[in-house]
């Protein structure tokens, strides 16, 4: 039997710990990576392979489940257990996996089409149930594997192969959607910022329940530079609204910008210099706020169209019992109350008659 370290963070409770320190190479599979050159997925994969050994859990107890799309090839490139499933259904499959096996660290890798279009239903229900699994949503705001149609996060007016006159769809804000679905852990990060990405992944792994992480990921072929504002040294200071728990939300060159309360349940970005109280008027970020309205208001600071500005970091991190824990608890309770089932007595029931020979 493997050792279970009671000192592991909540999200990993029940997963056996590794007997020896691990390194990145152990998590690299023998499969050739086949994403396009320059794809943001490479950066996420490298960060992920580098981060997994830090969890200190047994490699064979990590299970990756993906759907369909470019990002969903992810499990093939990790030497863990993995399933490349079908379009949109990874959260449902991972739910069965997580319920059956409390000793696994379960991860879902999905994209904006997979999670928000064909698989929208499974995503919201997994979030509301708070199954102990981690969802990484690679948002490139385009369909890549089917060669460049608009996605449910593409900006209005997007001209693609399937929308020659521009998309007329209103896009989803994935963070707003997750918060509306009662998610307990909601974060956003960027493919190219390895340090931030790793810190968010770590927090996601440690959270018990469903962790939802939106990763802004560049598609160099069909939607290049969609996140340029967050990467270009000239714009990124004003583009990234950094969310750090316990700190005032202040950003921009020389900290000139900040987030303030603005009317009923709304937040707004203002020049700090224009505020009567200066920094003291800024919102101090509290990811543990019970009311999701605060995190939702934060999520609305994201541009709906072409992205120039968006909050990056952990929007919400609150505790709520995880579905799989509750399901297993009911089984334990039933066995304690009634004893382990006796099959013969079950099928016999209470209302029988006997025919003598």
């Amino acid at each position: 039997m493997s050792t279970v370290d009671l000192g592991l963070p909540a999200g990993l409770r029940g997963v056996p710990v590794a007997e020896a320190p691990q390194n990145r190479k152990e998590y690299v599979s023998d499969q050739e990576v086949r994403w396009c050159p320059g794809c943001g997925d490479y950066a996420v994969l490298a960060a992920f392979q580098g981060f997994l050994p830090e969890l200190g859990i047994k490699r064979e107890n990590v299970a990756m489940v993906s759907g369909i799309g470019c990002s969903s090839r992810f499990p093939y490139y990790l030497s863990t257990y993995g399933m490349h499933s079908i379009h949109g259904r990874a959260p449902a499959i991972a739910t069965g996996l997580a319920v059956a096996r409390p000793d696994l660290s379960v991860w879902v890798v999905t994209g904006d089409g997979d999670a928000l279009s064909i698989g929208g239903n499974h995503l919201i229900h997994t979030l509301r149930r708070n199954v102990n699994l981690k969802i990484l949503l690679f948002n490139n705001r385009i369909y890549g594997l089917t060669k460049g149609q608009y996605s449910p996060t593409s900006e209005p007016g997007k001209v693609t192969k399937s929308t020659p006159m521009g998309s007329v769809d209103t896009p989803f804000n994935p963070v707003s959607l997750a918060l509306g679905a009662e998610a307990t852990f909601v974060a956003r990060t960027v493919d190219s910022d390895r340090k931030h990405l790793t810190s968010v992944l770590k927090a996601a792994a440690e959270h018990r329940g469903t962790s939802f992480v939106e990763i802004y990921q560049n598609c160099p072929i069909f939607n290049d530079n969609a996140f340029d504002a967050f990467k270009n040294p000239e714009t990124r200071d004003d583009a990234i609204i950094p969310l750090r728990h316990g700190e005032p939300i202040r950003f921009g060159a020389d900290g000139r910008l900040g987030v303030v309360r603005d009317g009923f349940a709304s937040l707004a970005v203002r020049e700090v210099a224009d505020l009567p109280g200066g920094e003291s008027d800024l919102v101090v970020h509290d990811a543990h706020t019970d009311d999701p309205a605060y995190a939702f208001a934060l999520s609305r600071l994201t541009d709906a169209g072409v992205l120039h500005q968006a909050p990056i970091g952990i929007f919400r991190q609150v505790e709520r019992p995880a579905y799989d824990d509750l399901v297993r608890q009911q089984i334990t309770t039933a066995r304690e109350a009634q004893g382990p089932g006796n099959l013969q007595s079950l099928i016999t029931g209470t209302d029988t008659w006997t025919v003598e020979s």
């Binding site: 064979e60 499990p75 006997t354």
Partner: protein
């Protein structure tokens, strides 16, 4: 009150009784209780609940009528009966909706309380049929059951509405008296069911007793009936419905495999009761997930199978359509998965509470690509247990999704079941791979997830958490043995043929098809599958009772077929295939064996009738013997056989 006439006790060998009333009148409960009393008395029995999809259609209307038919006998019987000998109609709509099925001379017990001009007009009666003489061909017993019920429970201080709700128990008491049923189990049942509501409990028991005593003391009935216990094989019996037997069979299969079970399901008629039953069985390490939709239900089940549990999903035809893609993934991943299709009348939403067996081709072929999987079908309510165990055996042994077909008739119908000793059930061996099963080119030990057992072609199954055997599988075509992604043309052809060969090879592990052909002189074989077993058997018996020679066989394995099926088909001049679809098994048989079977297809949402089948079989027997159309008698004679006796007696009499 004392009786002035003596009550005659009349012996019957079999009775068909039908309870009918409004959806809210508790007719299903009444039927269930009468069934339990009859089962504990030791009769053989078969039941047919029949109810609308609407939970409470407007009271007193024809669409709102719900009924429960029970056939019980002193011998072994096969169907719930074609026509009732006794109809209990709790209101005018129930009388009108059911009378067409009742043969002349039958007894019709009517609650007259709702026979008001307004109610009658609402369902198209201009005059009260109890007064016009139009029922004179029946033995009508018209009683104010509601009024007598209210009177019998007045001491409990209930409102008239609540008091009248016990009228189903009053009727049950009366009929229990009429057929000399033991009443203790119903009283115990009411005590338990209404334990938390003493006044309701006492009112129901009082109404039940009052109904029984009314039969005893009133003069409406001069005859009581006795149906002696059936001679059944020695053993312990219980009554069981198809859905309950299916739930227990799934648990038994998982237990015999030593695997926890995870059911992912979405509520759908008529499959929901399997979810309900399994959700009560957590102590057997059964997890039930009521998923957000049908796709998530099967997805969670497949995820659980990947984890090393027994994944199960239960649904009906529309849900199976939604699950198809995930089932195809299961075929590709080669993981165990039990998929239960409790068929209902289609297409589309169809008739949710009515039965049909028209999903056969859907479950055989309703996936993209060449995606073969084993298909099993239960032939009676109790057989759902054995079929579920068999499905688990195949799923786990061969690492494949398995389709189990039941239907609305089997799901809700019930019959006595000789309870098996669980130790006699097959032991199912998951044989998880826990060590490397090959050596790589570099000489190092290696795990090949698609390395196969040479006998079963089952792949090596290692579950997450097994050190050194981590691997990735998915819906993309895999390379033989390694399971790596492969687009190689020859490999794809090999894998397609291997998956097919694996399913075909299951035939080596199943019993050959048994043919019932007493005397061995029959030229006609009647071959069925699924819930038509009872009606076909009853039809065949009738034909034999009037001297016809006919053989019968029934398929429980529809993919692969039993290995001897081709030989069986070729040894008869004619093969008749009755089905509740437009000839789906007939199509499969014709294409596989090039034999022009005769299809008898009826799609009415109801089980086939014994009499209609007797006629069809009898005519085919005579046709095969070269008897001209206008000279044929066997079918008509067999169909008209109403109070035919059981086989031994009939043969003794001839």
């Amino acid at each position: 009150m004392t009786r002035t006439v003596t009550i005659e006790v009349k012996q019957l060998d079999r009775v068909v009784i039908r309870f009918a009333g409004d959806s809210g009148d508790g007719m299903q409960l009444t039927g269930d209780r009468f069934t339990a009393e009859t089962a504990s008395f030791g009769n053989d029995l078969s039941t047919l609940p029949n109810f609308p999809a609407e939970i409470r259609a407007p009271a007193g209307t024809l669409p709102g009528v719900s009924s429960f038919q029970l056939h019980f006998a002193d011998h072994d019987i096969l169907t719930p009966g074609d026509a009732p000998d006794v109809l209990i109609a709790m209101n005018p709509a129930a009388l009108k909706a059911n009378l067409k099925d009742v043969p002349r001379g039958a007894t019709v017990i009517v609650d007259t309380a709702d026979f008001t001009a307004r109610n009658l007009k609402r369902i198209g009666y201009d005059e009260n049929p109890l007064e016009t003489g139009e029922l004179e061909a029946y033995h009508v017993v018209a009683l104010n059951l509601t009024g007598m019920t209210v009177e019998s429970v007045k001491e409990f201080g209930l409102s008239r509405k609540d008091a009248s709700r016990a009228k189903n128990m009053y009727a049950l008491g009366l009929v229990s008296w009429l057929f000399q049923r033991p009443v203790e189990s119903t009283i115990t049942f009411l005590e338990t069911k209404f334990a938390g509501k003493p006044e309701i409990r006492d009112a129901n028991i009082a109404a039940f007793r009052a109904g029984f005593n009314f039969g005893e003391t009133a003069e409406e009935f001069s005859v009581r009936y006795e149906v002696k216990p059936a001679k059944m094989a020695s053993g312990t019996y219980r009554n069981i419905s198809g859905n309950l037997a299916l739930a227990y069979g799934l648990v038994a299969g998982a237990q015999r495999a030593g695997l926890p079970m995870v059911l992912g399901a979405y509520p759908i008629t008529p499959a929901s009761d399997v979810l309900h039953e399994l959700s009560k069985l957590k102590r057997f390490d059964v997890t039930t997930i009521q998923a957000e939709d049908e796709i998530a239900g099967v997805g969670a089940a497949l995820g659980a199978s990947f984890a090393g549990a027994l994944g199960v999903t239960t649904s009906s035809g529309p849900g199976i359509s939604l699950k198809s893609e995930t089932i195809g993934l299961g075929v590709m991943l080669e993981l165990p998965l039990v998929v239960c299709d409790i068929q209902r009348a289609g297409p589309s939403t169809g008739m949710p509470t009515k039965t049909e067996q028209a999903d056969l081709l859907q479950v055989m072929f309703g996936r993209n690509g060449e995606a073969p999987l084993p298909v099993l079908a239960a032939q009676s309510p109790a057989d759902c247990f054995a079929i579920a165990v068999e499905a688990t055996r195949i799923a786990v042994t061969y690492r494949t999704p398995v389709m189990v077909l039941s239907d609305g008739y089997l799901a809700n119908g019930s019959e006595p079941w000789q309870i098996p000793d669980v130790e006699t059930l097959p032991v199912i061996e998951p044989n998880f791979t826990v060590e490397p099963n090959a050596t790589g080119a570099d000489g190092k030990p290696l795990y090949l997830p698609y390395l196969r057992d040479p006998e079963t072609l089952a792949r090596a199954w290692a579950i997450p958490g097994t050190p050194g055997l981590d691997h990735r599988i998915g819906g993309l075509e895999k390379e033989d043995k390694t399971g790596n992604i492969s687009y190689d043309p020859a490999n794809h052809d090999l894998m397609i043929r291997t998956r097919q060969a694996k399913v075909d090879g299951i035939a080596r592990s199943i019993e050959p098809l048994h043919v019932d052909d007493p005397g061995g002189a029959a030229k006609v074989l009647v071959l069925g599958w699924g819930s038509t077993y009872g009606p076909i058997g009853a039809g065949v018996r009738r034909v034999r009772a009037v001297g016809g020679k006919v053989a019968q066989a029934h398929l429980r394995h529809l993919n692969p077929f039993p290995a001897n099926l081709g030989d069986v088909l070729r040894s008869y001049d004619k093969v008749l295939v009755p089905e509740m679809n437009l000839g789906q098994l007939a199509m499969l048989l014709r294409s596989k064996y090039l034999i022009d079977v005769v299809s008898y297809a009826q799609v009415r949402g109801m089980p086939l009738g014994a009499a209609e089948l007797a006629e069809v079989i009898g005519n085919l027997v005579e046709e095969t013997e070269g008897i001209d159309d206008d000279a044929r008698q066997l079918g008509a004679a067999a169909a008209q056989l109403t109070h035919w006796d059981h086989q031994e007696q009939t043969e003794g009499a001839r």
